[in-house]
């Protein structure tokens, strides 16, 4: 047991938590924005995947990491807009359209990589580079935290800044107010003159962009290649974090961080005598329990909390 504590208290572990939590945080905030706008974005997974693939390919062929990241973000944003268009213009069910977009991303990325590079696995043959880390002067001297914080990637910093950003957006800006109004009661919002569709399009674009940043981090953060289906269900986990966090920015932040910590722990424990697969089920089991508790509480109290769009 003491060895487990040693692992958990080390700065290497803390650094790992920050690294692993980054895509969860970004994608979860993407999911949160969409959910509060009234359209469930179950396509987070596909948006991440498309961004990861586009990022690595563009960066590899152009030689510019920035261009790659931009390409990835653009594609994910467009996928967010596409989901909104399918929902709003063609009356599609958001969940089913999201499943379709996930399939599309999975198939199209694998097809693109195979067609361009003749490689089934990914883009490891392409030199695409990584996004820069941010050196903060003097931070190494802070005990414990210093080592964990020093070598972190730019995107990790952005992921942690996303929490106050989304909170500010939701509760301190006109747009955020409109977004929440649209998500909760679109008819009421429309009746007071809020442009419902435009707000939803903007929300889904932002949602896609955040998921895209998560995807770009996967293929350009610590590794410099795209692997087929490299998101490995992270988009769905992020979606769970949205609900587990009670559809509120800081709640979602804690939930996503928790998922990251649990996964980092599972990886670290792999070296010890605990089956890592079982450790890694803990956050999901917790989510399931929390979901039941949350629903039970809401049922007893009646409504009054924001109801997820997909219920």
């Amino acid at each position: 047991m003491s060895s487990v504590l040693d692992v958990v208290l080390s700065s290497a572990f803390l650094a790992a938590v920050l690294r692993v939590a980054t895509p969860y945080l970004l994608a979860a905030f993407g999911g949160l924005v969409a959910e509060r706008a009234g359209i469930s974005n179950i396509a987070l997974e596909g948006q991440m995947l498309a961004a990861a693939c586009t990022g690595a390919l563009v960066a590899g062929y152009s030689g510019s990491v920035a261009l790659g990241a931009l390409g990835g973000l653009t594609v994910a944003t467009l996928l967010g807009l596409l989901l909104a268009a399918l929902r709003l213009e063609l009356g599609a069910d958001a969940i089913i359209a999201g499943i379709g977009l996930n399939l599309l991303a999975s198939g199209a990325t694998a097809y693109a990589v195979y067609t361009l590079l003749d490689d089934k696995g990914g883009t490891s043959g392409l030199r695409s580079g990584t996004l820069p880390t941010v050196p903060l002067p003097g931070i190494e001297s802070v005990p414990v935290l210093g080592d964990a914080l020093s070598g972190q990637n730019l995107v990790t910093w952005l992921a942690f800044l996303a929490a106050p950003f989304v909170a500010w957006l939701f509760y301190r800006t006109r747009f955020g107010f409109h977004l929440r109004a649209v998500g909760e009661k679109p008819d009421a919002a429309a009746s007071v003159g809020i442009p419902v569709r435009r707000v939803q399009y903007a929300g889904l674009a932002l949602s896609g962009a955040l998921a895209g940043l998560a995807g770009v981090f996967l293929s350009m953060g610590h590794v410099s290649f795209f692997v087929r289906d490299m998101t490995a269900g992270r988009g769905f986990i992020a979606l769970a974090a949205v609900f587990l966090g009670g559809l509120r920015p800081w709640g979602v932040f804690l939930a996503a961080l928790g998922f990251g910590a649990a996964e980092a722990l599972a990886v670290q424990l792999g070296t010890l005598d605990v089956p890592p697969q079982l450790v890694s089920t803990i956050p999901y089991a917790m989510t399931l329990l929390a979901l039941a508790l949350y629903a039970w509480r809401r049922k007893r109290r009646g409504t009054g909390e924001p109801v997820p769009a997909s219920l």
Binding site: L90, A92, I96, L104, K120, L239, T287, L291, K299
Partner: protein, 380 residues
Amino acid sequence: MTSTLVETEDRREYRETRRRGLAVDLGTTLATVLAALVIGFLVILATGKDPVRAYEALLTGPLERSFRVGRWLEDATTLTLLGLSVAIPFRARQISLGAESQLYAGALAAATVAIFLPLPSVAAVVVPLVAAAAAGAGMGFVPGAMKARLGANEIVATLMLNAIVVRVYDYLVNGPLKQPGSTAVHSERIQPDSALTPLTDWLGIPFGRANIGLGLMLLTAVALWLLLTRTPLGYRIRMTGANPDFAEYGGIRVPRAIEWSFVIGGAVAGLAGAHLVQGVYGRLEPGLAGSLAFEGIVVALLARNNPLVVVIAGLFYSYLRAGGDIMEQQTDVGTEIVVVIQAVIVLLVTAQALPDLLKRRITRRQVARKQGARKQVGAR
């Protein structure tokens, strides 16, 4: 008892609308598939490959040799069962994404019984199947009850269960159930008596791993169709999906219907797991189902959740999957294009507005004509 004129007319009208609805459904489905195939064709063309040669391999390849037919039928059996498993909760308008967890639970149950429990001949086949269905049903019950009794979001619940069960499965195959002394990761083989008889043994034609699970799948589809259309429970499930408020008002216990739809769907997904163990692989392997569970959703959607149509959709999808593999062997076009085609189908199917708009216009015109006729009758 003779029926009145109004009754006969009503009935005739109802039949006619139904027939027309079916024709429109069939037409849109075919148009959807065709449109998706055309888009796939254009994508291949745009990426600088030869689409004609690719589509030739894709569309004729699976029938060229008997073992390819077997590969297709074997895949179709699993895929159709998975499609059926989501079609039932979908009919109750429950978005259950839990086929993956139910399949793995079923596979584990079937394998555990088929490996460790010595049984007489017929029981050796049947008991693992029953165990798999029970395990799948149990795995369906959890999110079903959470939704029905607490109103918990079934999408999140099923996704979480998937994540948990897949990891537990991975642990068991790598740990307690791993064949001792083997370097490769898989369980021991099931007892020979528990295997679903290969079609090859029956027909004398080499059909690969295709087995009598195919018949089981067809029976399941018919049974589910009968359940939905001919039993009170099926009626409750359909009413719940069509309009839960109205169903509740009409005295249907909606939560019960929801729960049952999950349990039945789970049992069928469990059977899909048993088919993989007892019919296809003969043991547990890591990542047994691949992406099949999610593709089952596609099949159900394309078939508009009608069990009998699910069979056709499943056969069609598996045909594309099998053809995609052959296309990749024979040409330089990757099999992934099939996934793109599938995705386009899903998006077109769910983009309801266009065909619905058309349908509504047609019915409106007909209603207008009927009303005109009625008025004339009344005037006389």
